[in-house]
Symmetry: C2
Subunit: 260 residues, 2 copies
């Protein structure tokens, strides 16, 4: 049987770094999703296998905590493994380190559900493939992931900060706004000065509903006390319903900053 | 001495395909720029060497012509080589093919200048490193690139089609809007129906001036006769000058469509 851990390598490319010379968080997220895809593919749980039987993975939460962001031309290794499996959700963790000297940039946690692509209902992970997924668990004792689990995000403001229209480049093969593009749009809320004086220490995102090409996304940002305060925000889409005068919540996110 | 051709491989990742399952053109452009970077780096002409002596490469034109766009999970090889070197410009070509069966997706041409990063003036390519660059030329006879050279792009309309604000995710390590992001913003001009009924056969872009994070980019699109007509457009930035009431031209582009 394959090892329970998959290791995925990449180099930090020139067009994937921000103006400070560090990897864009969205690009790191993309690499993490690729690592997850390869881990599940190699163990018979990839979307290529699953689509044939009408199931697909849906990312529900992602929390990334970094002491340092990889810099241009650095070589990075992502380890990914499954920490636990419940009936409707599985927890997948990530370790991100420098491939040359082994120093750890940080960790990430994610939560995934499996849905039936015809009914859109969640599937029972423990029943699929006779519980095969249980063969791949590495418990927190066996492989620690020393960052906090996903927290609760509370946004009370009803004042929109920005409206973003969605276009061709925003959507994935399923026609949904892609998970990484939401991260880009969120980070675009902050001015240049924020990135000159702070770095992102922790980023949490919860995917609550799908949005589609052409949807107008409204960003509600909870005002922090200072530029160093954690930023909590919600992305909502207009649904033309009196039940949702501010729109339906598509994404919630929290950005924690560290002063440089 | 190294071969005059560099071959660069990549796989088409799930988050790098559009809703039709084909690679985003901007992502292909990014891979081509990486291939170019590796080719020049391995031959002592990379920006890492050049920055030390205060020079950098600037992409002036890029034309991509494809019979087919690579699809999700396909393995792709990009070959790149230098076709000619003049005093102030060099022509670099690309061949894009399937790494498994060798079929050719298409070709691309590009033009680059070298500038002095302190004066922003172009450098004489034939004088740098004692004309070493001439060792790497593969003429059109030796290595054909069977697509047309860059054409002239003419946009007469003074009616703006869209205004795009630029943010954190748009800029590269130099603080400029990155070359690939312009391609994304251009392709975002077209509605879903355009991509359902057409594919891009040829894409040309000319980089005329730099723009920066926070610049407002205005898109002037020359109306085509039908959805299948080539689309010519200009991106201009506001400069607050009476000499440029419509703004300064930053980018010109032309998109040629093929009916599916």
């Amino acid at each position: 049987m394959l090892s329970k851990i998959e290791t995925y390598r990449f180099s930090v490319e020139p067009f994937h770094v921000d103006f400070t010379g560090h990897l864009f968080l969205g690009v790191l997220g993309n690499h993490m999703l690729n690592a997850a895809g390869r881990h599940s593919h190699n163990r018979g749980w990839g979307i290529d296998h699953l689509n044939a039987v009408k199931y697909t993975w849906v990312l529900s939460r992602l929390s990334i905590e970094l002491n340092e962001m990889p810099a241009q031309y650095e070589h990075v290794e992502i380890e990914t493994w499954v920490e636990s499996v419940m009936k409707l959700f599985t927890e997948r963790n990530f370790l991100i380190r420098n491939a040359d000297d082994g120093r750890i940039y940080g960790y990430a946690r994610s939560i995934w559900a499996m849905i039936d692509t015809t009914t859109r209902h969640p599937a029972d992970l423990l029943e699929l493939k006779n519980g095969d997924i249980l063969n791949y668990i590495l418990t927190a004792e066996e492989k620690p992931c020393p960052i906090a689990k996903h927290g609760r995000i509370r946004v009370k403001t009803d004042k929109a900060t920005r409206m973003v229209q969605t276009f061709y480049s925003d959507v994935d093969i399923n026609g949904h706004i892609n998970s990484v593009k939401y991260i880009e749009h969120i980070l675009d809320l902050f001015p240049r000065e924020q990135y000159e004086t702070h770095r992102i220490h922790r980023f949490e995102i919860a995917y609550k509903a799908e949005s589609y090409m052409g949807d107008e996304l409204t960003f509600f940002v909870e005002p922090g006390e200072s530029a160093s305060s954690a930023t909590e925000l919600e992305i909502r889409k207009h649904v033309g319903s009196e039940d949702h005068p501010l729109g339906e919540t598509v994404v919630q996110a929290k950005v924690e900053w560290e002063v440089l």
